[in-house]
Amino acid sequence: MFNLWQIDRKVKELPQITIKGKLTSDKAKEVLGDSNDVLVKDIYTGNKSVKIQAIGIDGLIDSDVIDNYVLRPFTNIALNKTEKDLYEMCKNGVIYHISQKEIKDINEAVENILQGNTVVFFDHLEKAVSFDAKNLPARSITEPENESVLKGAKDAFIESIRVNTGLVRKKLKTPMLRLESFTVGKEAVTKLNIVYIEGVTDEDLLNKVREKIKNIDMNDLISAGKFEICMKDYKYSLFPQLLFTERVEKFCANICDGKVGVLIDGLPIAYLLPGVFSTYFQAPEDYSQNYVLSSGIRLLRYICFIITLVLPALYIAITMFHHEMMPTDLAISIIESKEGVPFDTAVEIVIMLVAFELLLEASLRLPKTIGSTISIIGGLIVGEAAVNAKFISPAVVVIIAFTGITGFVIPNQEMSNALRVCRIFLVICASLAGMFGISFGLLFILYYLCSIEVLGVPYMVPFVANGGKNMLKDTIIRLPRDLFGGKDD
C-alpha cells in the first residue's frame, strides 16, 4: 500500500530474444556479437573437408574438461569421418560426457552458451550438441552473515544455484525430494528451482507457485526484490509475504514441514513459501534450545512486537489525552523532564523517530569501520546534547530507544521494517485522537493482516482459520513436538 510508486511503474517492454535462423555456428556468433570472451574453436577432420565448431564463453566453461573430454576425442575420431558420422557418434555416446544434450534450435543453443555450456555445431547438418562443463565463478561456502547460530550447521547458501541444490541434497537425503527448474527473464535469463518433497507439500500450493513463476514478466530477475514483487499476492502490501533464509538447515527444515522452497541463480538466499505472519517470529535458535527457553524468548518477541508498534503512540496518547492513566509519580517526573522543552509530545516523538531512522539509514550505508562512529555521534548528539539543550525531553529519548531496541528483537528485518511504518501511522492516529485513534489504527492493521492471503493461505494462520487449530504449536510459544504427534524433541 505504501509503495504506491510502483503501481504505475510499467516494466519496460524489451523484445523477447527470439532468434530466427538456422542452427549454425555463424548464426550463434552473430547473436553473441563481437565479444572477446566468446570462444570459438574449429575442429577439422583429417582431410580438413569437414569442419565443426565448438562455442563457449571464457570464464564460464571448464577449459580442461572441454579440451580433454570433448575436443580431444573429436580430433581422435574425426579422421575420414563425415559430418553426419561425427554427429551420430557424438549423439550415441562416443564423446563421453554425462551431461550432453541435443540442441533443437538456435535459441536453445545461445541460452546454453550463456549458461556456461559448450555447444558443438554441425553446420551443414544444422545440428548442435551441448556439453555441460561449467566452471562458474563462485565463492566458497561460508557461515551465514545475518542468521548466525550458536548451535547448528554453519553452511549458508551462495550465489551458485547448483551448489545450493547440492547443499540441499546433502541435507535432505530423501528420494522424494523434487527440484523443478524454471528459467525466467526476457533479457537476462535467470535459472530458478523450486524445491519440495513430494507427498508432503500441498499440490495446490505447488501449482500456485508454478503458476506464479510462469507468469513472471520481467526483463531480468537478478535482484531479490524483483522476484518478491512477482511472487506476492498483495504486491503493495507493507508486510513481507516471502520468508527468506541464507541457512541451508532452516531451508531444509521448512521444506520438510511442507513449504515450497525457491532457489534463484545468483542469489545467496533461498525463499520459502508461503511466508505467513508467525514464521517471521521464528529464529533458528528456537529449535536448538530447550522448549521452555524457546517459548519464553518467542513470547518475548511477540511482546516486543506490540511494544515497538504501540509504545510511541501510547506515550503520546497518555501524555496528551489520558494523563490520568499513568501513575502520578511518573506523571510528575515527566512534567519535570518536559520543563523548558518547546515542542508538544507528538512533535518530539516524530522528531526522534525521524532522527532514529536517519541514524539507522546512515549506519547501514557506511562502511563498518566508520559505522560505529555514527552510533557514537548519534548517541551523544541526539541522546545527550539534545536533552541538555532542552530540545527534547529525556523521557522521549527513553521511549524511542526502547522502541528501537524492541524492534530489533524481531528476527526478520522485513517484518521489522513494516512495523517501522505502522508505528508512524499509529503515532499520527494517537496524535489526532489519543487512545481512540490507537484503537482505530490497531483495528485497521489487524483487519488488514487478517484479510490478506499468501498463495491461498491466510496470512494470520494459525491465529485465524482452522478454528485456531495448532495455535500454540509453534507460534507464540514452542511446545515440544511430541505433544502434537511429532517424533522428535
Binding site: M1, Y236, T319, M320, F321, H322, H323, E324, T328, A331, I332, I334, I335, E336, K338, E339, V341, D344, T345, C429, L432, A433, G434, F436, G437, F440, F444, Y448
Partner: protein
C-alpha cells in the same frame, strides 16, 4: 486494491474529523501544562452554605527554586493548599482554571477528604460531582475529617509533613493493618449512597496533638520541636440517610471488626496494669442465630470463635497450656464487651454495619419479607446475646520449651 485505498483515505478523514469532536475524543492537554493534585478536600462554608473545594498542589516558588537548584528536588518540595468557594464544586473547579497558568486536573487525586460539617450536611452533592467528573478516579480513597474541616486538615497537614499524600497513604495502611477491612473508595461510597438505606461507614481521620496521648502509642521525633500535630486514623464515621451521624469509639471499632471477622489485636491489662499481654486475633468465626417465638423474632445470638496468638507478655513468664485458659477467658470477656458496645451503637443509630439484617435476610427470607420494613425498629429493642470462645494457640516461653 483501489477500494482499500479509498477505505484507508476515508478512515483517515474520519479520524481527523473525530479529533475535533470533544464529545468523543478527550480534550488534548499537554501533560506539562497540567497542574496535578493528589489530595482534595470538600467542605461547606457556614453559614452561607457555599461549597469549598480545596486542592493540595506543589508550591510554585519551591518548585522553581528546586528546578534550578538540584535534581533531588522532591526531597525539599513544599505543598500548599488552594481553596475555592462557590455555589457548586463544578464552578469551584472552573474558577481554579484561571488561577495559575496551568490547567488544574482531578485525574490524579488519590485521596478525598470530606469535612465533618460537610459530611453532616449530606454527602450527595460531593459524590454527585465525583461521579460526573470525567477525570476523577473511582478508586480514590475517601475519608471524613473528625472535629475539623477538610481545608484546615489539609493546611495543618501540609505544614506537618513534606508530602500530605504520602502521609494519608500511610494512614490508609494503618487503617488496613490495624482494624479495617480495607480502604473505602469513591465507588464504595457511591454504592452506599445508591443503596436503599443510604447508610454505612466511612473512614475517619483526625489531627491529634502529641501531648494529648490519646492513642495507644505516642511517637516522638527528635527533629520535631515544639508543639506537634499528627494525622491519625479515627476509626469510622457512621453514615445514615447519606449524612454523617456519629463516629465509632475505639471499643466499638473492635466490636465492629470482630463481628465482621476482621483481624484485631488486643491488649489485656491485668493486675492493675502490672501485667500486660498482647494478643493477636487472626481467625474469627461469627455465627448469627435468630431465636423466634412463634413468628416473632425474640433474640439475636452471636456465637463467636476466636483463634489467636500471644504476641508479648510483659513479665516474660512461661505460658503453659493450663495457664493459657485464664488469658482465653479474659480475652473472651473483653471481646464480649466490645461486641456489645458495637451492637448498642448499631441499635442506636439504626445502621446495619454489623450485617445482622443481611444475615437475617439470608437465613430467613420469608420472615424477612414480612418484617423488612420494621426490622430496624424491632432490632433497636431486641436483646442480643454474645457468646465468645477464645483459643490461644501454642506459644513459647522464654525460659523453657512448652510441652504439648
Amino acid at each position: 486494491m483501489i477500494k482499500r485505498i479509498y477505505f484507508f483515505i476515508y478512515l483517515v478523514i474520519f479520524i481527523v474529523f473525530l479529533s475535533w469532536s470533544e464529545k468523543i475524543i478527550p480534550t488534548r492537554n499537554e501533560i506539562s501544562e497540567l497542574q496535578l493534585s493528589r489530595v482534595a478536600g470538600f467542605d461547606v462554608e457556614e453559614p452561607s452554605k457555599k461549597v469549598q473545594f480545596s486542592l493540595v498542589v506543589d508550591s510554585e516558588k519551591e518548585k522553581s527554586k528546586n528546578a534550578s537548584s538540584d535534581q533531588n528536588s522532591n526531597s525539599g518540595k513544599k505543598e500548599n493548599v488552594i481553596t475555592v468557594t462557590s455555589d457548586t464544586f463544578a464552578m469551584c473547579l472552573q474558577g481554579l482554571q484561571g488561577y495559575r497558568e496551568k490547567t488544574f486536573t482531578t485525574g490524579h487525586i488519590k485521596n478525598i477528604l470530606i469535612g465533618e460539617n460537610a459530611a453532616k450536611n449530606g454527602l450527595v452533592e460531593e459524590f454527585d460531582f465525583a461521579a460526573r467528573n470525567y477525570d476523577l478516579r473511582f478508586d480514590t480513597n475517601v475519608y471524613v475529617t473528625k472535629d475539623t474541616s477538610a481545608k484546615d486538615f489539609l493546611i495543618t497537614g501540609t505544614k506537618e509533613v513534606s508530602s500530605l499524600n504520602a502521609g494519608i497513604e500511610n494512614l490508609s495502611t494503618t487503617l488496613r493493618g490495624a482494624s479495617a477491612p480495607g480502604d473505602y473508595k469513591v465507588v464504595d461510597i457511591l454504592k452506599m449512597l445508591t443503596s436503599e438505606q443510604k447508610s454505612g461507614l466511612i473512614p475517619a481521620v483526625e489531627l491529634v496533638k502529641e501531648e494529648e496521648e490519646k492513642k495507644e502509642w505516642r511517637i516522638e521525633n527528635s527533629e520535631e520541636k515544639g508543639e506537634s500535630v499528627r494525622m491519625e486514623v479515627a476509626g469510622y464515621g457512621i453514615i445514615k440517610d447519606a449524612k454523617l451521624i456519629s463516629f465509632f469509639s475505639e471499643e466499638e471499632l473492635h466490636g465492629y471488626n470482630t463481628v465482621n471477622e476482621n483481624y484485631i489485636n488486643l491488649m489485656l491489662t491485668l493486675k492493675n496494669g502490672e501485667e500486660k499481654v498482647g494478643i493477636d486475633i487472626s481467625d474469627i468465626k461469627v455465627k448469627k442465630n435468630f431465636v423466634f417465638s412463634k413468628d416473632k423474632l425474640e433474640e439475636v445470638k452471636l456465637e463467636i470463635e476466636l483463634v489467636g496468638d500471644i504476641t508479648e507478655v510483659s513479665d516474660g513468664k512461661n505460658l503453659l497450656k493450663e495457664g493459657l485458659s485464664f488469658y482465653e477467658q479474659k480475652t473472651s470477656e473483653m471481646v464480649t464487651n466490645y461486641v456489645l458496645d458495637a451492637v448498642k451503637k448499631s441499635q442506636e443509630t439504626d445502621v446495619d454495619f454489623l450485617k445482622i439484617k443481611q444475615s437475617f435476610r439470608m437465613q430467613h427470607p420469608y420472615r424477612y419479607e414480612k418484617m423488612k420494613d420494621d426490622f430496624e425498629k424491632e432490632f433497636s429493642t431486641l436483646p442480643v446475646t454474645v457468646d465468645v470462645q477464645t483459643t490461644i494457640n501454642k506459644t513459647y516461653g522464654m525460659f523453657s520449651v512448652v510441652e504439648e
